[in-house]
Symmetry: C2
Subunit: 204 residues, 2 copies
């Protein structure tokens, strides 16, 4: 027993009791595993069982399912958010940065079973998840979009929120259907965003 409990320790130790912290971690680990195998819609009972705790414990640490999902993927969302400014500095053009960032975002969504579905579907149960994604990523997307507009790469008028939501929507239900690859459609969207000159051309 070293002095892990002391307030002078380096860890903030926001939680008080040791078993509570252990359990929270166990739930997080179990949830990550279950999400991979059964999607983010997996029954809470199953996650609790896998973590070796009761359902009450899961609900205490993560009152809503969105809280659990958020906690599991927080690192990756954070990475994605931080990649925005970096890409803007590194990439050859704001448009290239936007495209690469969107690719990152899509890769993230596509590799998590049902994450995109959960993000958009019914507004009630996952509202907090939706909110968290938006809080963290919408400013990044806005920055990239504005930069691309200012550079003349794309035409103005596109709402960042609408774009992000559209991208999220396009990533829905990709599982196990080789005929559907959201990336191709998103590439098409980006083409539509580009500035072709003063005029759209005759649409009819």
């Amino acid at each position: 027993m070293s002095m892990e409990s002391g307030p002078a320790g380096k860890a903030p130790a926001r939680s008080r009791r040791a078993d509570a912290q252990r359990n929270e971690q166990a739930v997080l680990t179990a949830a990550a595993e279950v999400f991979v195998s059964s999607g983010v819609d997996a029954p809470i009972r199953r996650i609790a069982a896998r973590a070796g705790v009761g359902m009450g414990t899961v609900y205490r640490h993560f009152p809503t399912r969105a809280d659990l999902v958020t906690a599991v993927y927080r690192h990756q969302i954070e990475e994605c958010a931080e990649a925005g400014p970096r890409l803007l500095a590194e990439a050859g053009s704001p448009f290239a940065a936007l495209r690469q960032w969107i690719n990152l975002f899509v890769d993230f969504l596509v590799t998590k079973h049902g994450l995109a579905d959960a993000l958009q579907s019914d507004s009630s149960r996952f509202a907090a998840l939706h909110t968290y994604f938006l809080d963290r990523l919408l400013p990044v997307c806005t920055q990239l979009l504005d930069a691309a507009v200012e550079a003349g790469d794309i035409r103005p008028g596109t709402q960042p929120y609408e774009l992000m939501r559209g991208i999220g929507n396009l990533c829905i239900g990709r599982d196990s259907d080789p005929r559907y690859d959201p990336r191709r459609l998103i590439e098409l969207l980006l083409r539509g965003l580009r500035h072709p000159g003063p005029d759209t051309g005759p649409g009819r």
Copy 2:
């Protein structure tokens, strides 16, 4: 009373008993009403109650939820399918026809609560619905797309299935969010589809 039961009658009378036909109609009507107010995910119990029949009756006439949804919207799907060739003949260009057809499709999806969600979301429960839409509308979309490619309006290489699915996805979750209008994104997609010339331009 009269000889409506005779097999020599003109009506094919595919169903045998009169009450069965009445009940089927009652369920259809009730389902249409409930879908409007509560979306296509509404509990079967509620639909049965509204129709004044037992759940068994609903399930007998429409074994899966998809069958019920399909039956309710069959007319409109049919109309949409028939509009394809007509637009191709009437519109100024194949591309214009494609755009107008897509607008029809989007209007249809957007005005039914949760229809787009059901179409795409989890593959299991609504598989038959997905299939029906595809059987009926994919050939139409393919025809329009091919015509537009042949006319040089759009670039080749786009898969009709992917396009339809993308459009369906973009229509998901539009309910009560004024910030999101799938039509704007679909317009962007169409722009991306257009033939700008030999080259995409340097997007990197």
